[in-house]
């Protein structure tokens, strides 16, 4: 694992000779600032969010071993409107992380994956949108429909 983060490496790009010089947009190989970077940023953020939910979710599920009353009381909190919106956010995060994860696998192992990474990012966004279009109305009706 390299010691420097991606940002730190990106910072080491040479700048113009004098500070007055207009920063030239480095062409070609730089990773920063486009679909490649933003897909990676979103992948990290959704990954961390899902990880911390997973910790809580294992603990709340463990209440099944304590008593039906304890489990039902805590799982009841998941049925409130605020948690209902949280669940939508969770599914949105999982949906993105899963779809982009498949994209990362294709970039790694598909011979022309790198060439098509931008197209695949927008494909991920479209599929993610379709997924949420299917899930959100039904889930929100469940949560707010009583």
């Amino acid at each position: 694992m390299p010691d420097k983060s991606a940002e730190a490496l990106a910072e080491t790009q040479p700048v113009g000779k004098s500070p007055r010089n207009k920063l030239k947009a480095p062409a070609g190989t730089l990773y920063r600032g486009r679909e490649g970077m933003w897909s990676w940023v979103l992948h990290r953020i959704t990954g961390v969010a899902i990880f911390f939910f997973l910790l809580v979710h294992i603990l709340d599920t463990s209440l099944l071993r304590l008593s039906p009353e304890a489990y039902n009381a805590v799982i009841g909190a998941y049925k409130t409107p605020i948690m209902g919106i949280g669940e939508l956010g969770l599914v949105a995060a999982i949906g993105y992380h899963a779809l982009n994860g498949v994209r990362v696998i294709l970039v790694d192992f598909w011979s022309v994956g790198t060439k098509h990474q931008k197209l695949m990012f927008w494909l991920v966004i479209i599929l993610w949108f379709v997924l949420l279009l299917g899930f959100a109305p039904r889930h929100l009706m469940n949560v707010f429909g009583g």
Binding site: M1, D3, S5, A6, R44, G47, V48, I50, F51, L54, L55, I58, L59, T61, S62, L64, R65, S67, P68, E69, Y71, N72, I75, Y78, K79, G84, E87, V91, I94, A98, G101, V102, V104, I105, D108, F109, F135, R138, H139, N142, V143
Partner: protein
């Protein structure tokens, strides 16, 4: 990461579909709902795989973030130690919960239990 990720796509979307999308969605989930699922070995295997793969996949991802952002060596060691400890504890806890689960605990109100408990007693 790649292998567990691919399997997790199937396991998690199946889990979300059955627990959040099918039927009444989140409103259907309670003790009896889970007891009904775990009466079938299929869901015991499903949920055990889900527990192990998701937690190991997530902890490994967090390890990458610690490597990227925690520059202080001793802080790094603390984070990774905490990550390893919490992963092991939750894997043991979760596995025990699944395999020692009692769907019809003695003394519990029968309206909270799955319907098949009435037939056993």
């Amino acid at each position: 990461m790649r292998a567990s990720g691919l399997i997790l796509v199937v396991l998690i979307f199946g889990h979300l579909f059955v627990n959040l999308f099918a039927g009444e969605g989140v409103h259907a989930i309670d003790f009896a709902f889970v007891a009904g699922k775990w009466a079938d070995p299929f869901w015991i295997v499903w949920d055990t795989l889900l527990l192990w793969l998701a937690l190991i996949h997530g902890a490994n991802g967090m390890r990458t973030l610690v490597n990227d952002y925690a520059h202080n060596p001793s802080l790094r060691r603390i984070f990774k130690g905490a990550l390893l400890a919490s992963t092991v504890v939750l894997l043991v806890l979760g596995t025990l919960v699944i395999f020692t689960f009692d769907p019809c605990p003695a003394g519990a109100p029968s309206d909270l239990l799955p319907s098949f408990c009435a037939e056993i007693k």
